[in-house]
């Protein structure tokens, strides 16, 4: 190509290069902004992502009460300060008390400065490796680790009975907001039994061979009630999700009769008198998440229990 022709082409091409650069910048900028928003939304909608287990408070003190549960991420800090990932506002807990980190062998815990952590036998340790069911004491708080991921460390407590409780699944549920924990002032939570002695609560489901009479289906409160009664700080807004109605269907008229309206708290709190019977036909069980225009499914002796498998 002659010098003159090349010069003309090159002078024209510089506008193309500038336009291409502008296009690349705009497109890359848009992608980055959209991806940043998506990443923020992901973090906001699933704040528990990365949770590998939880600490269950066995003996509480101060604002840390028995039965409270604290999610455990893969690494973080236990302390009483606002920066702590597991914030224990109780006597004897330092602002920065201990660091934890999930390893293949288990949750490695090491203390900070003069803070001490104690194992299940009451021995002070500077560093510990916790498995599922390991118990530790931090300050005046005794707690047990419940791991939801597989590690090499052997489990120290029976898994059965821990995860069959109805309130365990929301750990990984989506919760858009994280309101501050407000412990119920009027309800005093009984002291829980040691976790290794906890047995599975009696079945709350109606037996398949329940009589087709007008005898209302009753639910027995679990023997070991109130272990999980105080709401865990991250189990939020679950009242609406975990209320249900027990109904009995009359075979002749195909009408449903509400025998009881219950909520999840009824399982663990003092049993209140049964709700008065209603004879209204129910369009659907009272689940706020369900779609409104759903045709009711007529079943015999159905208990619309969200935890009923």
């Amino acid at each position: 190509v002659s010098g003159g022709l090349y010069e003309i082409i090159a002078l024209a091409a510089r506008y193309l290069f500038a336009a291409l650069m502008v296009l690349i910048v705009i497109r890359a900028w848009k992608i980055t902004i959209v991806d940043a928003r998506r990443a923020a939304m992901l973090r906001r909608m699933s704040p528990e992502t990365g949770v590998c287990g939880e600490f269950l408070i066995l003996t509480g003190n101060g604002k840390v009460r028995e039965g409270m549960r604290f999610p455990v991420i893969r690494e973080g800090m236990i302390g009483s300060s606002g920066k702590a990932d597991v914030r224990l506002r109780a006597n004897g807990v330092h602002r920065t008390h201990a660091y934890f980190e999930l390893t293949k062998k288990g949750l490695r815990l090491r203390d900070h400065a003069s803070a001490r952590i104690f194992n299940a036998r009451g021995e002070a340790k500077r560093e510990m490796l916790l498995g599922d069911g390991s118990k530790i004491t931090v300050g005046s708080v005794e707690m047990m680790l419940i791991l939801t991921v597989a590690v090499d460390a052997p489990a120290e407590a029976p898994r059965e009975g821990l995860f069959d409780i109805p309130d365990d699944s929301p750990v990984l549920s989506e919760r858009p907001h994280r309101p501050a924990y407000r412990p119920p002032e009027t309800v005093s939570a009984p002291r829980p039994a040691p976790m290794h002695t906890v047995t599975r609560a009696p079945s709350t489901h109606a037996p398949a061979s329940a009589p087709q009479s007008d005898i209302p289906i009753t639910r027995e409160a679990p023997a070991q009630d109130n272990i999980f009664a105080p709401r865990a700080p991250y189990a939020r807004d679950t009242e609406a999700q975990f209320s249900w109605r027990e109904t009995v269907v009359d075979e002749t008229t195909s009408r449903r009769t509400v025998v009881r309206e219950s909520s999840i708290d009824d399982l663990f709190m003092e049993r209140t008198p049964a709700a008065p019977e209603k004879t209204d036909s129910i369009p659907g069980w009272d689940d706020p998440w369900s779609e409104p225009a759903k045709k009711p499914v007529v079943r015999k002796h159905t208990v619309d229990d969200p935890f009923d498998p």
């Binding site: 090159a10 690349i24 497109r27 992608i31 991806d35 940043a36 998506r38 909608m45 992502t49 980190e101």
Partner: protein, 431 residues
């Protein structure tokens, strides 16, 4: 179901944006610019013709195949490859010998292998705490080697020659240095526990000062301070560190004549435009003569600038492609850093978070120092423009760091997908 819809939203949130248009624009730029250079002379330039097809082909191949192996952030890879191709094309235009762009293309291929190694390595690197002392020894040994067997180049003794190849250990050790810092600062330790890592960083800086490699010294120091602040959120200690660095810079300026000269030339390069201020003066003339759209590819005279292929390549690019293109180039660096920060924020462990943060900090500081030096915003320091300047050590090291960043982004994506799967499973169990 509303809850199920939220899972769908989460899944959508996990998806990254479509990069097809971005990749197409990058491929078009590479093809047109290399094709233009093919017909620059009286005869067809075979090397440029090879670049016309090879550069877009390699870019397309890497961008499409890498996501089949790992769920990496593809936009980071595309932007890095764009910057690398701009470097090769501009070197093809401005270099006096065809050996320089040829070597740069070979280094780029090696760097791509390094990037894959970086992704693979960070995904496999599980025992980083145990490996840290070994990495420290390797890093210190490599940094000290030019003092023993090195050669002087451009006023600094920071090169070693092995088998006919010149290697700059301070460039190669950048990703290793970042990983050592991330390992030492991980898990929010208290100040006393960071002291060994800070002492290691101080030793590295001392070695670089002894070799008069001021650019690398500044990078290592500022990266250490930035990572310390990110890891500990201790503003007082960070400001103290910066203050000590500033005091050391003032002392160095007074004590070392060549530092004093650089500062003088930064303040007034026109006082000696023929000798010491020649570089900056020629750089400013080149940037000014480029105008908004540049002189045109192959029509400028960037060879008047000393070190036009390495330290002053930004001025050469501005002269040929214009101000709009150069500002776009800087925005691309900013976007690369923004994406890296997103990766760091989403990382699941503080080690990976700090490593990603260290990589983008190092790239950002390096860009700021050399562009600031070219435009007389900062005193000139001898660092390369990441991914664009000529030089194998810098290119391989930067691509390795980009690989580490991409590897962390792929681990984030996998973790997020696993979490969403768990949410789905728990919801199904509740139904």
């Amino acid at each position: 179901m509303a809850r199920a819809a939220n899972v769908a939203k989460l899944k959508k949130a996990l998806m990254r944006s479509n990069t097809r248009l971005l990749l197409s624009a990058v491929l078009l730029f590479q093809f047109v610019s290399a094709l233009l250079l093919t017909f620059k002379g009286d005869t067809i330039d075979m090397q440029a013709l090879l670049f016309t097809f090879a550069i877009p082909a390699v870019t397309w191949l890497v961008c499409t195949q890498i996501t089949r192996l790992w769920p990496v952030d593809r936009a980071i890879i595309i932007l890095a490859l764009l910057l690398c191709s701009i470097g090769i094309i501009s070197l093809k235009d401005i270099a006096r010998s065809p050996i320089t762009p040829g070597n740069q293309a070979k280094y780029a291929l090696v760097a791509l292998v390094g990037m894959f190694a970086g992704i693979f390595g960070i995904r496999m690197f599980k025992f980083w705490k145990k490996a840290t002392p070994i990495l420290m020894v390797i890093c210190l040994g490599a940094l000290i080697s030019p003092s023993l067997i090195g050669v002087w180049k451009y006023g600094a003794r920071n090169w070693i020659e092995i088998g006919g190849f010149s290697i700059q250990p301070s460039e190669f050790m950048k990703p290793v240095f970042i990983m050592i810092l991330a390992s030492g600062f991980a898990n929010r330790p208290r100040f006393m526990k960071t002291l060994p890592t800070l002492a290691f960083a101080a030793m590295c800086c001392g070695i670089l000062l002894f070799q008069r490699d001021l650019g690398a010294l500044l990078l290592y120091f500022l990266t250490t301070v930035a990572l310390f602040f990110v890891a500990t959120s201790n503003g007082l200690l960070t400001l103290s560190g910066l203050g000590m660095g500033a005091a050391a810079a003032v002392i160095a300026c007074k004590a070392l004549p060549y530092v004093q000269r650089r500062v003088d030339m930064w303040r007034d390069p026109w006082s000696d435009p023929e000798v010491y201020g020649y570089q900056i003066v020629q750089s400013l003339i080149a940037i000014g003569s480029g105008g908004l759209f540049g002189m045109g590819l192959g029509l400028g005279s960037p060879r008047n600038i000393p070190l036009y292929h390495s330290d002053f390549i930004f001025a050469a690019l501005t002269e040929e492609f214009g101000l709009i293109f150069s500002v776009g180039l800087l925005i691309i660096y900013v976007l690369l850093i923004m994406r890296g920060v997103i990766v760091a924020m989403n990382a699941r462990t503080s080690f990976h978070s700090l490593t990603a943060m260290g990589v983008v900090t190092m790239i950002g500081l390096q860009t700021m120092l050399i562009v600031g030096g070219n435009t007389k915003l900062l005193p000139l320091t001898g660092v390369t423009l990441p991914l664009i300047s000529s030089g194998g050590s810098s290119l391989v090291s930067t691509f390795f760091a980009i690989g580490i960043l991409s590897g962390i982004s792929s681990m984030n994506a996998e973790d997020e997908a696993r979490d969403i799967e768990l949410i789905e499973m728990s919801q199904e169990a509740m139904m």
